[in-house]
Symmetry: C2
Subunit: 207 residues, 2 copies
């Protein structure tokens, strides 16, 4: 953790945990005093933790962030723009060791279709490896923020695993391997667009 002390770190972890597990649902008001009591610290570190979660995009105006369909789309589009660029960079610059690792994640994910959590982990790693090729911390961090928010919704989506997802990963991997930047970028774009549409279709926007 880059700032703050122990109490703040504790508050941050605990609140974040509750949000990403869905235990604190979207729209829920975060009341400082209550959280402070629950966690066993004073209001001050809770406040700071909430501010950090706000910066991270998980909290908005003291409430657990609940993006509209439009907002989810906006976050996805930002991610698509960066990841398509990243795929282009990867096809151009990725060294063979990393390429091997990339292939490995696809293989692993194929092998363990049943362990949902593990598949999620491999898929995230796949994208992270590619984004890393931008060699641009600003972009890497931005994608991370987008992912945090998208994953808030994707719990549902990941369980209803989208058909073709792994094949698309394999195809992207191949394009990078073949050093074809434009194809890699195009495939990545299509892949994430499909993810977006699938997510929008699955999620229940009425609740």
């Amino acid at each position: 953790m880059r700032t703050g002390g122990a109490a703040q770190a504790l508050a941050y972890e605990k609140i974040r945990e509750q949000i990403v597990t869905g235990n604190y649902p979207g729209g829920m008001k975060l009341i400082e005093e209550r959280l402070a009591e629950e966690i066993g610290v004073s209001r001050t570190p809770v406040r700071e933790a909430i501010r950090r979660l706000e910066q991270e995009g998980l909290v908005r105006r003291k409430k657990v962030f609940k993006p509209s369909a439009k907002e989810l789309r906006d976050h996805f589009k930002m991610r698509i723009l960066i990841e398509a660029h990243a795929a282009r960079m990867a096809a151009t610059y990725m060294i063979d060791d990393d390429l091997d690792e990339l292939k490995e994640t696809v293989g692993k994910a194929k092998a363990i279709r049943d362990d949902s959590a593990a598949v999620v982990r491999e898929n995230k790693k796949f994208h992270d490896l590619i984004v890393r090729e931008t060699r641009n911390p600003v972009m890497i961090e931005t994608v991370d923020r987008m992912q945090s928010i998208i994953y808030l919704f994707s719990r549902a989506v990941v369980i209803n695993k989208r058909p073709g997802l792994l094949d698309e990963h394999a195809a992207i991997c191949e394009a990078i391997s073949a050093r074809d930047p434009e194809k890699a970028a195009r495939l990545m774009e299509e892949h994430l667009e499909a993810d977006l549409e699938f997510t929008l279709a699955i999620v229940d926007w009425e609740e």
Copy 2:
């Protein structure tokens, strides 16, 4: 202001002012107690103001942010990616009223070459109008953050006004007007790359 009370707003404005005017130079440590006394509020709102400036990218680890050449480049590249995309969108979707406004900013900037502050304002407006065409608040806000940081350096650059800048704006404007997305994007990319290189060349990285 979207959060906090009067004291916090005051602290935020005052500190930000000092940073963007260069009165607080890059690398300067922000000491809560000192600022609190200077502004006439307690440490609490100063803390929150500093956090917000941190989120905005103007402060890093309690010090006024002073990007390295690499970091400035990274922020620029993020901006280029979004603005090239925005130019593409603008060429496709921008309505005539906005296009007229865009042309006007170029004309105005050409007319008032002597008033440096006004030229800066017009140039910023030019870019903002195009970025708006993404119709994506996430991207708009990201560009804003990048610009805040870049402008921290560009004070010097803007005074040494870069040759060709206005002609490039005019050319981009034309490409959008001609509904040529790829050309608009390419010109925007070249324009900002030139800005980046000019900035890197001008700024004194040793100080």
